[in-house]
């Protein structure tokens, strides 16, 4: 991996008209952490991740990665950041009519000279890298199929392979399992944790279910109405706290936000949060 840098958000704000989607978020994420962001739908989780990848621009505030302010990047530097900061989506966002391996190879587009990307020419080395990424997720046998012929769970694994092909420093996952059945959800979450543990890539993952976040993440950030209302290790997240995050009344119980993932045993945090 490259230089170890910390991702630091300072007063990061995004408004849509009068609506404040993300309100002055201050977060520091050390390298190699697996972070789960939880909250109701509309709490601003998705906007936060999109701000990090700069698919949308912040209204105010800074995103510092090492010394660099990501919020100010433009043009080529911005694309460089996107290629360092891979993203996977709830709806997988694969190009349905391209075959799987080309979809994974789009992860290399930042480094590709224009004439090769226009002519869709990839070197054997790039292809091999893409197939290895697919193989890691058990999807190499589908490499020549069209992405749209795959099931949801398979598509999400291809999307993760595309992210891996980017050789990212950070992996953002926007509700990666919200459209999947429990079995595929487990495969995807296991893959994300594996990438975090074995490759040391920071993973920041939006989850709408509390138990998945508890089971997989080192650290949980709770958002409500655009504000960060909780930031700590899973064991600090009490039922009362969860109730506040989800804005539920006294009948709230964790089962109502559960995908009933069998899941592995809860992971012990490897690093204390700042």
């Amino acid at each position: 991996m490259g230089t170890r840098s910390m991702l630091k958000l300072e007063k990061l704000t995004r408004r849509f008209g009068d609506n404040v989607a993300v309100n002055a978020a201050n977060i520091e994420i050390p390298d190699g952490q697996m972070v789960g962001i939880i909250g109701k739908s509309g709490a601003g989780k998705s906007t936060l991740l999109r701000l990090l990848n700069r698919l949308i621009d912040p209204s105010e505030g800074q995103i510092l990665f090492g010394e660099e302010d990501i919020a100010q990047l433009k043009g080529k530097d911005l694309r460089k950041w996107r290629s360092d900061c891979a993203m996977i989506f709830q709806q997988f966002n694969l190009v349905g009519r391209l075959d799987v391996v080309t979809n994974v190879l789009t992860g290399r587009l930042y480094d590709l000279p224009a004439w090769r990307s226009m002519a869709q020419i990839f070197t054997p080395r790039e292809r091999a890298f893409a197939v290895q990424a697919l193989d890691r997720l058990g999807m190499a046998h589908t490499a020549m199929q069209r992405a749209e012929t795959l099931s949801g769970g398979q598509q999400q694994r291809v999307a993760i392979a595309r992210a891996l092909a980017q050789e990212p420093k950070i992996l953002l996952a926007d509700e990666p399992i919200a459209s999947l059945d429990p079995m595929n959800a487990k495969i995807v979450m296991d893959a994300l944790r594996d990438i975090n543990r074995n490759d040391g890539i920071t993973v920041i993952c939006n989850l709408h279910t509390l138990d998945t976040a508890r089971n997989y993440c080192d650290r949980i950030i709770g958002m409500r109405d655009g504000k960060i209302v909780f930031d700590g290790t899973p064991n600090l997240l009490t039922t009362a706290m969860a109730r506040e995050i989800y804005g539920a009344d006294h009948e709230f119980d964790e089962a109502s936000t559960s995908t009933s993932l069998g899941g592995p045993a809860p992971v012990q945090p490897i690093r204390e949060t700042a």
Binding site: R79, V95, T106
Partner: protein, 285 residues
Amino acid sequence: MQMASITTVDTDQVDAARAAHPGAFRTAWDEVKKWAPWVIAIVYVIGSLIYFDIGRLFDASERALRLLRAMFVWQDMDTWQYANIYTGIAQTLAMAFLGTLLGTIGSLMVGFLAAKNVMPFRVVRQIVRRFLDILRGIDQLVWGLVFVRAVGLGPLAGVLAIFISDLGTLSKLYSESIENIDRKQVEGVRATGAGPLAVIRYGYLPQVLPVFISQSLYFWESNTRSATILGIVGAGGIGMILIERFRAQLYDQVFFVVLNVLVLIFIIDWLSKRIRLWAIGEKSH
């Protein structure tokens, strides 16, 4: 109560029913509103036909008969210059092919410029769109005439006319299908750090290309049809031969050419349907 026969319903009963259920009976005004459009339409058609001198239709029998006879009595068939006719047909096909091809290539670029989700600058988009509106507002045949004036008689004018009018229509259709694509796929490519051209190449093109191909094939078919008449204004193809022989009052030959044109149109329809099926069928699995 026993139902009465319809023959025993008298006016008193009708009036009683009308008083009880006024909605079920139409007033005189309702009747007027119902029939007025039809009456107006019929009166208008009759009136306008008289204005357009419909009477001439009935004086036309002698010339109509000459035409009818020419349809069946073909004379001096060995002097008909068939090579000329079939060169004209080949020219028609060539004009449609080249015109559609150029129009497609042009629209590939212009279509993206006119699409809201690709071209962020509203001014550029509006200018491109208004320009396309003008191209579309002028009929292909008028373009043909204009290009005949500009570059002279012959198929070059026809190719340009087809190209220009296709550019107007295809670009609009292309830009609409670009606007209707699945944005998620584009976002997926954008999030990898791909540049704007690569985003178009990998995010947009795979989605829109099949639509583009099928639209262009459809235009190729319809252009072949319209290329048959472009020659009437001198823009090359079979139409030129048609009008020449019509002016020379060789009606039997004209009829022969028209038959050929109809067969050509029929073949092109059939062929285009097959190619579309093949292209789309192959693309979809």
